[in-house]
């Protein structure tokens, strides 16, 4: 059984939480006491029907306002897959929380209301999912029950979205007509839309192929922690603990350590459960090397003939996430990239990108909350990075305000083409 992480996005009233409630409910992932408490809360508020959105809107303020403020993570499993849902807020005010939820997703669902079609919000969400390089996108046309399950409505919205999508870099788009409230095409196939022959939403989630989404070519191993047991038995043991974020490392392989540039061999890949012959993305292991070279946290192990860029000058797309103060040229921040934290200064704000029109404003002099733009940064120490489009782990970074310790931005190296 493997794991699929997906994020849901949609406008405030598109029924996103209802869709998740429906997925959980129809796949029997909701427990009786959870349903009871939702039914009680619904009754208390005088709702006409049980509001499944209450399953995910767990915070007092969310229930009061009937909106989603922050990402809620939900879990369910079918016999073939385990799913982690990041239910993200649709409200523009909480864009940064949506970006948070989408950053680890294999798949994104953008929900639109069949009655109103594509809104500025749905375009924005699709753009953000694309910017974060979420590999698979589902356009879920919801509330089909309110347009008499009309195929023309579905077709129009689909065509309109496909025109918009030509400006993005989508590799995989699936469009599904459904009704979250009534349950059509969510888990069970609808008998009201015989004209639709594709998968139900759950069927698609179960079968979407995600094995190729990872980079298995470029070996990237950011050193996270140096293991030096102070024990007789392991007197000379020196291992480099970390998580593989790219490529397949094998015992006996040649390895190059950055920033030193020394080459050596991988002599062992250790885990608590015993040594392994190879390690691949997301495995958390301890690597031992043939030579005693100086390596510490923040360094990176790669292959001699396949290295990341080593640079102090970075061009990147930035999503600004701070309420207090915007990003300007001259701003100084801490930058955390892989396991390395260094100082960075904003050399230039090249442009602000209007995420609704995709227009570039080259006269912008600052980025405010939830705004996106392209910047040039200069870092104190070199980063070992790849284009975000090639590797999300070695291409993504965060900026931290040194005074408040707040995370103020998410950054993606490269990505000049939307």
């Amino acid at each position: 059984m493997d794991l699929l992480r997906f994020a849901t996005a949609g406008s405030v009233d598109d029924g996103k939480s209802t869709l998740i409630g429906r997925l959980l409910y129809d796949s029997k992932a909701i427990f009786e006491d959870q349903l009871d408490s939702v039914e009680q809360a619904s009754q208390k508020r005088g709702d006409e029907y049980t509001d499944l959105a209450l399953l995910t809107d767990g915070l007092r303020a969310e229930r009061e306002q009937g909106i989603t403020i922050d990402v809620a993570y939900r879990y369910f499993a079918t016999p073939s897959r385990k799913f982690i849902i990041a239910d993200t807020p649709g409200h523009v005010q909480y864009t940064r929380n949506m970006v948070t939820g989408a950053s680890t997703a294999n798949l994104g669902i953008v929900l639109v209301d069949a009655r109103t079609g594509l809104s500025e919000q749905s375009r924005r969400h699709a753009f953000l999912l694309n910017l974060l390089r979420v590999p698979h996108l589902v356009l879920a046309i919801n509330k089909m029950d309110l347009v008499d399950y009309d195929e023309d409505v579905y077709r129009k919205i689909r065509e309109e979205f496909e025109v918009f999508a030509t400006r993005l870099r989508l590799n995989d788009l699936t469009v599904i007509p459904l009704s979250a409230l009534k349950g059509d095409n969510v888990v069970d196939r609808s008998d009201k839309m015989p004209w639709y022959t594709g998968s139900t939403l759950l069927g698609h989630l179960e079968n979407v192929h995600v094995a190729s989404d990872r980079n298995l070519i470029d070996v990237r191993f950011p050193v996270q922690y140096v293991v030096r047991p102070k024990a007789k038995e392991y007197h000379d043991y020196r291992g480099y603990a970390g998580t593989v974020v790219g490529g397949v490392m094998k015992v006996g392989d040649e390895a190059l350590a950055l920033p030193s540039g020394f080459t050596t061999q991988i002599t062992a890949i250790d885990t608590y459960d015993g040594p392994v012959e190879e390690a691949f993305p997301d495995m958390a292991v301890v690597v031992r090397l043939a030579d005693n070279i100086d390596i510490s946290r923040g360094d990176m192990i790669c292959r001699p003939h396949n290295q990341p860029r080593v640079t102090q000058d970075v061009d990147a797309m930035i999503c600004w996430m701070s309420e207090s103060g915007g990003l300007r040229a001259g701003g100084r921040y801490l930058l955390k990239h892989t396991t390395r934290t260094t100082r960075a200064i904003v050399k230039d704000l090249q442009y602000e990108l209007n995420i609704n029109t995709l227009h570039r404003d080259e006269h912008a002099d600052s980025l405010g909350l939830n705004e996106i733009g392209r910047v040039t940064l200069r870092t104190q120490q070199p980063l070992f990075c790849d284009d975000y489009g090639r590797n999300r782990e070695t291409g993504g970074f965060i900026l931290i305000d040194e005074v408040t310790n707040q995370t103020v931005a998410a950054g993606m190296v490269g990505l000049d083409k939307n």
């Binding site: 408490s37 915070l59 007092r60 982690i84 680890t104 996270q224 885990t271 965060i398 995370t407």
Partner: protein, 304 residues
């Protein structure tokens, strides 16, 4: 680490394990004084197991902190001490009994000691000067927890601000705090109850005996079976009877309910959990039942 497949994919349990280890290493690398909050419950046993794995062959480089209400099941305390011995851990205990004796907290009759734990936890954090605390909380446990970050910032009053959480992207965690503030770190955020049990089975992790079927004297209150013990006053109409039960969560004897069950092994429990229609907290925790936002309110006060 289980078998690898030829297409280089991790099974979901391996993916969760790797994520947990990554989180633990990150906190240990970036924070000065971490500690692991250990209750003896199944989640903290899994958490400890991951911590042992994360630093092997070196020892776990931080202490284990137990906030002892004095109302714990004796089986759990015995188990805790044995584990500390086995892994060569450093144990710190924050005692609610002691805090009551010192007049730092006050017991209200009829209320459990669960709320008092918060104050004692905060005192222990201050005393140990801890700047990161690992907890075994899972997002599937409760709706407020579903909203919480893996690295959850707590201000100098240990408060959680659900509306002002730091964005948390990719696997890049912002672990920075000022003196007096700290991080709560939840490596098991993405695990479900079933994942925990599957992992316990696979790794052969030892748990306190109360998780498995045993005969116990119980009485019924609010639809829950509570253990008959000297930490709880029975009402007139509540009669004691013997029942074969097990616990789905480990909390105080005063507020943790048992479920009727004959599941005597991990495999039996998994079979039961897989078909259960009630969450573990809904079934067995009186402290979460108080109001719709009980957990959120307690987290704001500094509770885990």
């Amino acid at each position: 680490m289980a078998t690898t497949t030829h297409d280089y994919r991790l099974s979901q349990l391996d993916a969760l394990e790797a994520e947990g280890i990554h989180v633990i290493r990150e906190a240990a690398a970036e924070r000065e004084r971490p500690a692991l909050l250990f209750s003896g419950g199944k989640d903290s046993c899994v958490l400890l197991h991951l911590a042992v794995k994360a630093f092997w062959p070196a020892k776990v480089p931080f202490p284990v902190l137990h906030v002892d209400t004095g109302h714990n099941f004796p089986e759990v305390i015995e188990f805790r001490d044995r584990l500390v011995e086995q892994f060569g851990l450093r144990l710190e205990v924050g005692s609610v009994e002691q805090a009551i004796a010192d007049g730092r907290v006050h017991e209200r009759p009829g209320q459990g000691r669960n709320r008092l734990q918060t104050q004692v936890l905060l005192d222990s954090i201050q005393k140990g000067n801890f700047d990161a605390l690992f907890g075994g909380a899972r997002r599937d446990e409760e709706k407020a927890r579903a909203k919480e970050r893996v690295f959850s910032f707590r201000d100098e009053f240990s408060q959680w601000d659900p509306k002002g959480q730091r964005p948390e992207l990719w696997n890049l965690y912002n672990t920075r705090v000022h003196p007096g503030e700290h991080m709560r770190v939840f490596p098991l955020s993405n695990w479900t109850e079933l994942d925990i049990w599957d992992y316990v089975a696979r790794e052969k992790i030892e748990l306190p005996s109360i998780y498995f079927a045993h005969v116990r004297k119980v009485f019924e209150r609010d639809g829950m079976l509570l253990a008959d013990s000297d930490v709880i006053d029975r009402r007139e109409e509540e009669t004691v009877f013997e029942e074969t039960v097990r616990y789905r969560t480990v909390g105080d004897m005063s507020c943790t309910g048992a479920v009727e069950s004959s599941a005597a092994s991990v495999e039996d429990v998994i079979a039961e959990v897989a078909v259960s229609r009630v969450t573990e907290r809904g079934a067995t925790r009186a402290d979460d039942r108080t109001s719709e936002a009980a957990m959120e309110d307690r987290k704001r006060e500094g509770y885990f």
